[in-house]
């Protein structure tokens, strides 16, 4: 990323009941290495804290939530309310569960989308392409609506 481009800021954290810190720190480190500003809320972050961070950083391009302990649906129970109240307006990305051979039940993924999650990632390598895609589609939307591009 060249210096002339606007800053890219993301909000990162691990779901409320989850204390897995390793992947969280590595993702923050890697994103910073790619030139992102990372507001890392760390482990055990409730939806309320993500919402507060969004209010403090209205230019955040995404909220990235990691979850490795299988409780993500319960942990994101308050997400629809935060979405509805307009407190989290940027895309929400959920990823995690790095264990080999794990199976995703498609119904679980549908339930996550229903809670207001935009992207569900199986592999951390998908994160940068997902951020780029979400940003491109938001920029395109903004252009269509002849609104100033959020940077």
């Amino acid at each position: 990323m060249s210096h002339s481009e606007p800053r890219r800021l993301v909000i990162l954290g691990v779901a409320a009941s989850d204390s897995h810190a390793v992947a969280n720190h590595l993702i923050a480190h890697a994103l910073r290495g790619l030139g992102f500003e990372v507001e890392n809320l760390g482990t055990c972050t409730p939806v309320e804290e993500f919402a507060q961070a969004c209010e403090e950083h209205p230019d955040a391009e995404a909220v990235i939530i990691g979850s490795l302990n299988g409780h993500v649906h319960e942990d994101l129970r308050d997400l629809p309310a935060a979405r509805e109240a307009g407190r989290i307006t940027c895309p929400v990305i959920v990823g995690g569960n790095l264990s080999v051979g794990s199976r995703k039940d498609p119904r679980d993924l549908e339930r996550l989308h229903a809670l207001g999650v935009d992207r569900i990632l199986q592999d951390p390598a998908q994160l940068l392409p997902a951020l780029d895609e979400l940003r491109a589609s938001r920029t395109a939307d903004a252009d269509r609506q002849r609104l100033p591009v959020a940077s």
Binding site: A21, H25, A28, H29, A30, G42, A125
Partner: protein
């Protein structure tokens, strides 16, 4: 079991107002007829053997006594442990009491404050070995007071090491002040003739902790403890798994003590058997346990905290704990004197470790107020730990195993290392870093997220991989998946 219907206490501090004065507790400990933990450690070091200690703790009072008695009868550890439950660690004494009355087996340790010091004394009197409290509290003042009244002579923790790995949002200034209060009471007890062993928790987050980080944090905590009056300090170090690095790190402890601590403070090296992902297969786990015990012996540790063959599956049962203690103690055998480390390489590694620790701690110790300097240095990343649970450490440093398995710095973050140290770390990691990461020191460009995570995951799974368990696991998972598909 008798229900406790109330907690004696004043101003929200249950269990403390009924405590006896310190002098009474000191007399009580003298009357117990058992050595203090500090005495056991000194005797072990003088005898050239490694004292052995398990982790153990259950919620119920009778169950706790039975557990300690069985461990003592079956394995005769030198020091026994009271592991404290998570509610008590966080001063949630009411919740601990509720669980205790409803379902003590649900507690993941012994809620000493809720039980009260009279029961603490009963536990103490039920065995001949001295006891240590192991917990994880950022603020352990109440727990410490109850422990002393219970006649317990060793207490683990510190203002940095029991905050950053355990709490998300406790300011370091608060935990440092709380532990300073604990250490000050240790000074008062020393004046009354009782030496309390204060063990520091150098294991930190237990994930790939570079030796110089573990030891630098312990040096700072030890300096603060010594100034507050502590006279016996155990510096614990977590086994990395690399023989030369681990032996060097343990032998660095007395060297650092001579440099940074007053001579009247007695310092012991303690090894924590591998704290990361353990192999699942019993034989492999036992190999790792015995290997750890040999490392403790070669490193001149006064004490070893043991693991069990059930480590990969959770809290061990008594049988496994007994087996782990017995196996570790085998490394004390006089027959094993022929086991040696490569002394030249150990000396070289030791000098690097001591230099790295000096780079980290000396700017902090040069400041007029050490506690303030610690808080400021963590805020700036000049002090740091990898994978912190707390937001009060930046965790900019990224560890990585080198080709031989020793833990190095992939990123040194904002640590005040000189060029020489940075260069050595990059050289040792050449070829070991994730492909295309471009990470050299802290000035890296864009690391590939996936390969960084994969590389670190491999390092974390070092022992299961070394024993060939990871590949089998992949196969099993694939089989299971196929079976699931068949069932659908």
């Amino acid at each position: 079991m008798t229900k406790i219907s109330y907690l004696p206490g004043r101003s929200g501090s249950p269990g403390t107002d009924a405590l006896p004065p310190l002098a009474e507790s000191v007399d009580y400990i003298a009357s117990l007829g058992k050595p203090t933990a500090a005495r056991v450690l000194t005797d072990a070091r003088d005898a050239g053997r490694v004292a052995i200690q398990p982790r153990c703790g259950v919620g119920g009072h009778e169950e706790m006594k039975a557990l300690l008695r069985e461990l003592e009868e079956q394995a005769a550890p030198d020091i026994l442990t009271l592991t404290i439950d998570s509610h008590t660690r966080l001063k949630r004494f009411e919740q601990a009491l509720r669980s205790l009355n409803r379902a003590p087996a649900d507690l993941n340790g012994y809620p000493l404050v809720s039980h009260g010091y009279l029961r603490g004394r009963e536990v103490n009197e039920s065995v001949t070995a001295p006891l240590e409290i192991r917990h994880g509290s950022p603020d352990a003042r109440i727990l410490f007071d109850v422990a002393v009244a219970s006649g317990i002579t060793s207490f683990e923790g510190g203002g940095i090491s029991y905050n950053l790995p355990y709490s998300k949002a406790v300011p370091l200034a608060e935990s440092l002040a709380a532990w300073n209060a604990v250490d000050t009471v240790c000074g008062e007890l020393a004046a009354l003739g009782l030496i309390v062993d204060r063990e520091l928790f150098g294991t930190l987050t237990a994930v790939l902790v570079p030796p110089s980080i573990s030891l630098a944090i312990s040096v700072l905590e030890a300096v603060l403890a010594a100034r507050a009056g502590v006279r016996c300090i155990s510096v614990s170090y977590p086994q990395s798994g690399h023989l030369v690095q681990d032996v060097a790190a343990l032998r660095a402890i007395p060297v650092l003590a001579r440099t940074y601590l007053p001579p009247e403070v007695d310092v012991h090296a303690v090894l924590h058997e591998f704290m990361g992902v353990f192999p699942k297969k019993r034989g492999n786990a036992e190999d790792l346990i015995f290997y750890g015990a040999l490392v403790a012996r070669l490193g001149g540790a006064s004490k070893l905290i043991t693991k069990t063959y059930q480590e990969a599956f959770g809290i061990p049962d008594t049988r496994a704990n007994v087996e782990g203690l017995r196996l570790a103690d085998r490394a004390n055998s006089p027959l094993l004197g022929f086991v040696k480390a490569d002394e030249e390489r150990v000396a070289d590694e030791l000098s690097w470790i001591v230099d790295e620790v000096a780079d980290i701690v000396e700017p902090v110790l040069a400041a007029p107020d050490t506690m303030t300097a610690v808080v400021d240095a963590f805020a700036a990343g000049r002090l740091d730990i990898p994978f912190s649970a707390s937001r009060y450490a930046k965790s900019e440093i990224i560890p990585k195993r080198d080709a031989e398995g020793a833990i190095r710095y992939l990123s040194t973050g904002s640590l005040p290392f000189g060029d020489r140290t940075r260069r050595r770390n990059s050289e040792l990691l050449e070829g070991a870093g994730p492909k295309g990461s471009g990470l050299k020191g802290s000035g890296g460009t864009g690391p590939v997220i996936g390969s960084l995570l994969t590389g670190l995951t491999d390092d974390i799974n070092y022992f299961p991989t070394l024993f060939g368990e990871m590949q089998k696991e992949t196969q099993r998972a694939t089989q299971k998946e196929t079976q699931n598909e068949d069932a659908e």
